[in-house]
Amino acid sequence: MMRRVRLGLVILVAVVLETTLLTHFDVLDAAPGLCLLCVVAVAYEDGAESGALFGFAIGLVLDLFLITPIGLSALSFALTGYAVGAFQAGIVRATPWMYPVLGGLGGLFGGLVFIVVGGIVGQDELLSMHGVQVVVVGALWDALLAPAVIPLVRRIARRPDHAGAWRIRR
């Protein structure tokens, strides 16, 4: 229960920061994607299912403040959470450079899903060179911030019993 409250607060803080403070740091129309980094962190910590559910929830809240159709961020974040969670299941040992790589790849994957699905559902201007540029620069931002954000959110998302991807039954 307490973990859910903590993750709820992460959603609130990340959405507020992404739509207020971080918009001042835009470079070539791209600002840091704090919400997506939180999705990557939760998925890395707790696996594909949690990553997808958390991604859907935080994406849905973020969608409230965007004018793209509601559900677009939720969909791209849920798929990103699932992909990162599935990827982390194959990692034996985490290394320090893992966080920027995960942040960058997560940002790239999430951004590409966003513009492709957006293009399919009628936001066809998103499927352009400028759209790709925004995604790439945003992914670089995510890679830069990942070493600070991912460990912090992983700690918040950790289960009390630390039961991760594997369970033991006697």
Partner: protein
């Protein structure tokens, strides 16, 4: 002891359910669902106070940081603005008679004027970047704001109310890729061609596309584009939108588009005014 991996089938089912739910939401929203609008409005109302609080904390800090990074740019901008102010004072004196004449004409034809609409002053609480160019304000339906109302700064159009809740609203900027408005160019002493001004994804400037009078039209740098108004328009006539960024000559029957530079710096908005304008009802 049996050690086993989590249920892969279950997590795939969860993902499929989430994807289907998201696609359904996107589909409903694209068609325009009042239930989604209501849910969006309620949820936004819950979060809005937190955003307002955080923006009041962060805005002075970010303004200060922006100022540090742009010190030399601000100095030259200050010099340029002083020169423009001097020129504007001269123009204002020269234009006073013309404005009085215009006002008389508008009254004669019983056309609405910007001064006729009361406005709601609102603080900008957040900007969005990336694919949407919008900003949030701290006033909503409780203050009489409604969807599609024009938003101005110093009389110049900066956007329109895209979505509104009881305590806040999201404003679509004029340079957003989905923004469009009927416009007319205004030379110093005459009305120019009529067209549409619309935002672009890959530029901060708007595109002005002529829809009539294309042959042999020249659009000179510095000409002002104003809202064209009209019976079905959600904007009153005469709101400045932007200035032509460079000279354009439209030859033959094919018009070339002009780029409009917004009059107001849309990235540095702090306070805006929402005009409580309602489009005139056709008789």
């Amino acid at each position: 002891v049996v050690v086993y991996q989590p249920d892969h089938r279950r997590r795939r089912v969860v993902l499929v359910m989430l994807v289907l739910t998201a696609l359904a939401l996107i589909s409903f929203d694209e068609r325009g669902s009042s239930a989604i609008d209501q849910a969006r409005s309620t949820a936004a109302d819950v979060i809005q106070p937190v955003r307002d609080l955080s923006s009041s904390v962060f805005n002075p800090v970010t303004d200060w940081l922006d100022g540090l990074g742009r010190a030399s740019e601000l100095q030259s901008e200050n010099d340029r603005l002083r020169r423009e102010l001097a020129q504007a004072k001269t123009d204002a004196a020269a234009g006073a008679a013309a404005r009085a004449q215009l006002k008389e004409l508008l009254a004669l034809f019983d056309l609405p004027q910007v001064e006729d609409y009361d406005g709601v002053v609102a603080d900008v609480t957040g900007q969005s970047t990336g694919f949407d160019r919008t900003f949030s304000i701290d006033k909503g339906t409780d203050d009489g704001i409604a969807k599609d109302m024009p938003v101005v700064v110093g009389g110049a159009l900066v956007g329109k109310v895209y979505r509104v809740t009881s305590t806040g609203a999201v404003v679509q900027r004029i340079d957003d890729r989905q923004f469009g408005v009927g416009a007319q160019l205004l030379d110093k002493d005459q009305l120019g061609p009529v067209g549409t001004a619309s935002g672009q994804l890959d530029s901060r400037n708007l595109v002005f596309a002529i829809i009539e009078g294309a042959a042999g039209v020249a659009m000179k740098k510095g000409e002002i584009a104003i809202t064209n108004g009209g019976e079905k328009s959600t904007y009153p006539r005469g709101l400045p939108i932007g200035t032509v960024a460079r000279n354009v000559t439209a030859g033959g029957s094919v018009a070339r588009n002009a780029e409009l530079q917004p009059i107001v710096d849309l990235d540095s908005l702090d306070v805006v005014k929402v005009l409580r304008y309602q489009a005139p009802v056709a008789p």
